[in-house]
Amino acid sequence: MKIMSNSSSNSMRGFIDTDNTEQPVGTRVPLVLHMKSFGEVTHQVCRVAETKPPLAWYVAFAVSLSMLAFLGFCVTYLIFTGVGVWGLNNPVMWAYDITNFVFWVGIGHAGTLISAILFLFRQKWRTGINRFAEAMTIFAVICAGLFPGIHIGRVWLAYWLFPIPNSMDMWPQFRSPLLWDVFAVGTYFTVSLVFWYIGMIPDLATLRDRATGKFQQFAYGLASIGWRGSMRHWHRYEVAYLLLAALATPLVLSVHSVVSFDFAVSQLPGWHSTIFPPYFVAGAIFSGFAMVVSLAVPARQLFGLKDLITLRHLDNMNKIILVTGCMVGYAYSMEFFIAWYSGALYEKFAFINRAFGQYWWAYWIMVSCNVITPQLFWFKAIRISVPLMFVLSIFVNVGMWFERFVIIVTSLANDFLPSSWDQFVPTWVDIGTMVGAFGLFGTCFLLFCRYLPMIAIAEVKAVMPQANPHPHHDHAHDPHDPQGAGAAGVKR
């Protein structure tokens, strides 16, 4: 494989996988393959935004855009008719809407984890994937934000979600986690957006400098807010980036904890559980990484980025999927244990009903996808098999959607009072809105791939051997050593 890719022509570069997952003791396998210079990295990433995309991009964009249009139709129909067009009924007052909300918020967590926590832990492999994982976060939170907005019934009163002074003296319930959620998700979106944008400024400037069209020069120029790559710019950039990483780190844990409070703070059996915050956070990172893999695999294939998003990156992400998958599996079993151990009659019923009641199929889809599927990643052959990891990551996404569905719908459908039990059956609008949200996400993501630097060019350069003047003793160096790899100047 290695010989073939070395001897192949320049045009094939980036389209062939090289196995860089083995790391003999005492060596460091490069995270960027087959690149002789920084300029080559720049070219590999920038050409995606500078040349016409492959046919598959147009096909995917047309499909996404149609789905987005259908979302628009479903939402318009909902607004003009009322939430009755969904399959909600009296005990099941939340179903697809909140399932989708939690699903999309969860997806975003991988982006924040990669950009913030892995940054603070100096995980160099994050540089290959952080840009589009962050983009994924932002688009996922946009999709998530749609659902609370439209599920309230009177969409024109959506601003009541926020504490705005008004002549009615009416405020949201500050003791309700639903309001905390507004703040949590709002903060999350703002910080993620700022983080993503600040990180992108040097790369936008690169695109500006390479652009040939007048409009591209102006647009990228405006977006890169006058970046000239001076030492002072780099210094401030690095400080800002570090501060934002520190600010974003608590968000990885806090956002989905608060989302889990929406359920855990209520009294409903199946929701009222102290394990929810850590369990939701693990699940969010699990689903988020699965989504990164689902997006990275086709993206690196289509745009020829296999030398930058290498098998080593994918292998690492699959390991995280395995770890968080085990945590999620542990949480599932612990829920059952507590249902038995607590001796609470309703709690016990809720969980037996979850696994063997009217929604047993949803529960077992969830268990198969979330507990059994990731266990396959114990095998290295599967971790580095691109087609297999793609399929498995899709399974995880499906499983995590069902997890939220199971938690929300099974708990509501069979609550304390048997006389009010009912079944939720989705309508075509429910399904259309869910599918449409994927269209919204896909449209945003494809536009991002087409017009923005998909990979953090400047950061990738910093992890190349050329960036380190003393490659043979790099472990002995303090990363803050101004002469060493940490110096900002070498990036360009």
Binding site: P165, N166, S167, M168, D169, M170, R208, D209, A211, Q217, F218, Y220, G221, L222, I225, G226, R228
Partner: protein, 220 residues
């Protein structure tokens, strides 16, 4: 760098910086202004004073002549709605007094034809807000609390904002708005002067006042 052109911000754009800083600094002021405007009496239509078909003066009838509110608005203690009097009520007196006044032309013709005078409503609540006069008047909330000194108004105007926040203000702190039922229509009587806070608190328990703040109290 070769002579390839690249877009950087032109030098004149530096001149925009002070404007940006000023704009950023004035944002809080702007926000405060927007809120103040939204809550201002003008926005809430305070002081709404429509021209009535007959130049009836509350200042004369109530203030000078001492007519009780309930002489005309006679359903106020029994019903949710404070009735606007029929022409007959006017004519109880005006068959004897000011019989030929040109100002009363419309009253006389209404009396003869049996067709009501079309008074313009000043205090109009929205349909989705349920309000009961009797519940308030019989339990120590005087007319003046909401309608102001009608006995000094030549032409009636809207004294209170009638916004939900204004309703809640009283529902959350009823003490300072209560008076003995005997003084209910006495617009000049001020409970803050005449009564101690303890006496007002005592009224609250006497009338069993526990104002509800539930949505369904007013939005039924």
């Amino acid at each position: 760098m070769p002579a390839k052109s690249r877009f950087l911000f032109p030098r004149w754009s530096n001149a925009l910086l002070p404007f940006l800083i000023v704009a950023g600094a004035t944002m809080p002021i702007y926000a405060a202004f927007i809120v103040a405007y939204g809550l201002s009496p003008k926005t809430l239509d305070l002081g709404y004073q429509p021209v009535q078909p007959v130049p009836y003066s509350h200042a004369l009838h109530v203030g000078k002549l001492g007519l009780d509110c309930r002489y005309c608005h006679n359903t106020v203690e029994r019903a949710s709605f404070a009735a606007v009097p029929p022409t007959q009520t006017c004519m109880n007196c005006h068959t004897q007094i000011q019989r030929d006044s040109p100002k009363l032309e419309k009253v006389r013709s209404s009396y003869e034809s049996g067709k009501s005078i079309e008074w313009v409503k000043v205090h109009k609540l929205p349909d989705y807000a349920y309000f009961d006069h009797s519940a308030h008047v019989n339990r120590g909330v005087g007319c003046v609390e909401c309608h102001g000194r009608v006995d000094q108004m030549e032409v009636v105007y809207r004294f209170s904002p009638l916004a939900m926040g204004w309703c809640l203000e009283c529902h959350r702190d009823p003490d300072s708005h209560l008076r003995p039922v005997s003084q209910i229509t006495n617009l000049a009587w001020d409970q803050k002067v005449e009564m101690t806070p303890e006496e007002r608190a005592a009224l609250k328990s006497l009338y069993h006042i526990s104002p509800s703040e539930n949505c369904s109290t007013c939005h039924r």
